[in-house]
Symmetry: C2
């Protein structure tokens, strides 16, 4: 018999309770376990719910109850979630979380605490929502040398981009629509400036390459500067603009994590992921490439991933040591993105082909409907990003936009 | 310390050995295990290989060596694989297999043997090649009520279809090309007539719904009748023809597994899976839908999945009881496909719209380049397949083709 507690009865928390209570008999039969929910922690009151007897406002009720061996943390934010999670792990209780900020900022420490106390810290729900990606990375694909991971990791920005691409809505209008539909927060900065995708690529990078990658160490660019002109040129080029979180091992054995909008060619699986859906591609020596697709957020999809971890903890004895990475103090294993070789889409005005070709060499010119005479858009040959940026600096105010080409 | 043996040194077997030896140190470190290869069973001689000391021709060397706790069966075929696997399980050795025929025909029995002897029978590689699908189904998605699974499960036919769609090659020419490239066997029946996809949907059905589904119980249709005319009409309709293995729970609590070509609309994730790639969609109450994409066959991709299971066995103590289904004696839980509600694409000649509409009601007519005057193609409204088939029988020799519309 395993009893679990849910910390937080917000959107994901109430979904977790709902999904478990609905499928409890099926879960226990199919997974051959005997799992039940004992507590829900929330400072608010929820009168009239059929499970209102399970609420508590005091984390100590959970910490001090030896019957509770698994805790689902779905509060979000670092505090007090971090303190609660660490206290649970120190008591030998496994924790399953959907909290990407917590994992991205404190993952190594919490994994270490779990290992020391013979329990588990799991976070399938922190990245890609319902999509199984954490377990495949460290378990199903464990025979491989993982070389890169890249994905559409934020549903809000993907919805906005889909509206810009499909309906030719401006960024501002598409954002307003996302807010009306409840996909974007009133303050949308964490989504549209890339911080949310950054946390997720930190988690995937840490797991794939074995050392904690902190968000501050990752070059991160959002979609706030993106225009419909860029979207049109991408279409002419044969692809779409997507916000891609990516990490790859570089030739000198470092890794390069990054979040940035990218030109993605239409033949790539990531180009076909629309609306609020997420998709994650993984590259490795044996399997070549796999892609995982599904709902990256939402009440029940996130609850599905949290409960998958809770069920795994109920089946398991001891710590799963393949779900682990070492802490890191310095970003000395993170490659300078300026050294990376990229092709770049560039849009300029008041220049001419002679100047462009003298600077960049043989470029591929793009066109769009309504293209002004003094506007040029093109794709550069592959070059070190630093050298391309130096040329863009030389062009100064002539530069209207630049977007890296996705090349995995 | 875990030692494993590989049964069969063919394409997948040699790939399994190669991938393990290449990544051995990385695997042992990341998964926190101490795994090594001890035997390779093959009746043939392979002189000059760097691991030639590991070969044996006698299964008893493996069966009687208590150091060997895990066996990778990558021989293919039911005999002698079945006898070897059963003997290993009866000795308490876990078995990991890529053998879809074995799992589809003997899975329930072998799972029972594993459970009785406290070991594991695993088969991630049997379905979808490198794609993690077995573990996600019974582990990551375990909190959900799975309602349906559908996928492109055979890379050979998907390659042929891609050539027909993209390059307008005939079925015969595309098959010949697949044979030249080594994607199709000299005798391609198992692929093009659907038997391979059928085995895989049997495995997915058994796992998703808990009872063994035998291949003989599944309605199975290949792509040998498919014409370029059908492909053109599908394009006009807004999609592609794909060979889909599918299973869904029906309203009366039975399940309906099936393999058949389908019209798949271009917005569906499965329409974007081309060439030899596979993709599997899973539907359930919490996560809604997820899709897994990757290489469905090949030396190293299949080896990646086999080794993922071997590593899991090395980490595990005891049987994973969530990877289990009951045997079944009668197909009384399999729905008659004629009772299923479908839309159907139908192509006829020597008929007219009056006759068609009298029979089928309000249909959606399709057109194609070079369409003869006496040819009609259309999509029917949704109806019980039995009633549609009765109407097709009435039309008799006028019917040139029919393909079900994919509607998940």
């Amino acid at each position: 018999m395993s009893k679990f507690a849910v910390l937080g009865h917000g959107v994901v928390g109430s979904g977790t309770v709902e999904l478990f209570l609905k499928n409890k008999d099926r879960i226990n039969k199919q997974s051959n376990i005997d799992l039940d929910l004992k507590y829900i922690l929330d400072i608010r009151d929820f009168p009239g719910l059929p499970y209102s007897d399970k609420f508590t406002k005091d984390i100590n009720d959970i910490l001090n109850d030896d019957e509770v061996t698994i805790v689902a943390e779905v509060m979000g934010g670092v505090h007090p979630a971090y303190d609660f999670v660490l206290a649970c792990l120190n008591k030998g209780k496994s924790v399953c979380t959907s909290n990407k900020e917590l994992v991205a900022k404190k993952g190594a420490e919490l994994l270490k605490a779990a290992k020391e106390h013979g329990c588990n810290f799991m976070f399938e729900a922190s990245t890609g929502g319902a999509i199984p990606i954490i377990r495949p990375l460290h378990s199903c694909l464990a025979a491989n040398d993982i070389t890169a991971v890249a994905g559409i990791l934020n549903g809000t920005t993907n919805f906005i981009l889909t509206k810009m691409i499909t309906d030719k809505m401006s960024f501002a209008d598409a954002l307003a629509m996302a807010q009306r539909l409840g996909y974007a927060e009133k303050n949308p900065a964490a989504d549209v400036e890339g911080a949310d995708a950054c946390r997720k690529i930190c988690i995937l990078s840490s797991l794939a390459f074995g050392r904690h990658v902190y968000p501050d160490w990752v070059y991160c660019e959002g979609i706030t500067e993106l225009t419909l002109e860029d979207v049109s040129y991408a279409e002419n080029w044969g692809g779409e603009v997507k916000l891609i979180g990516s990490v790859k091992r570089t030739e000198d054995g470092k890794i390069l994590p990054m979040v940035a909008p990218r030109f993605v060619c239409s033949g790539c699986q990531l180009a076909n992921i629309d609306d609020v859906f997420n998709g994650v591609m993984v590259f490795g020596d044996g399997f070549d490439q796999v892609m995982f697709y599904g709902r990256g957020a939402g009440k029940l999809p996130t609850a599905s991933a949290v409960m998958g971890d809770v069920i795994d903890c109920a089946k398991r004895t001891g710590t799963d040591l393949s779900l682990f990475w070492e802490d890191s103090e310095e970003p000395d294993f993170i490659e300078d993105y300026q050294l990376d070789t990229v092709q770049m889409y560039i849009r300029v005005n008041n220049s001419d082909k002679a100047e462009i070709e003298k600077l960049f060499g043989e470029v591929e010119y793009l066109s769009r409907e309504g293209q002004p005479e003094n506007e040029l858009a093109f794709i550069t040959p592959a070059a070190a990003e630093g050298s391309l940026n130096a040329k863009l600096e030389y062009l100064g105010e002539k530069v209207l936009g630049k977007i890296r080409v996705f090349d995995m």
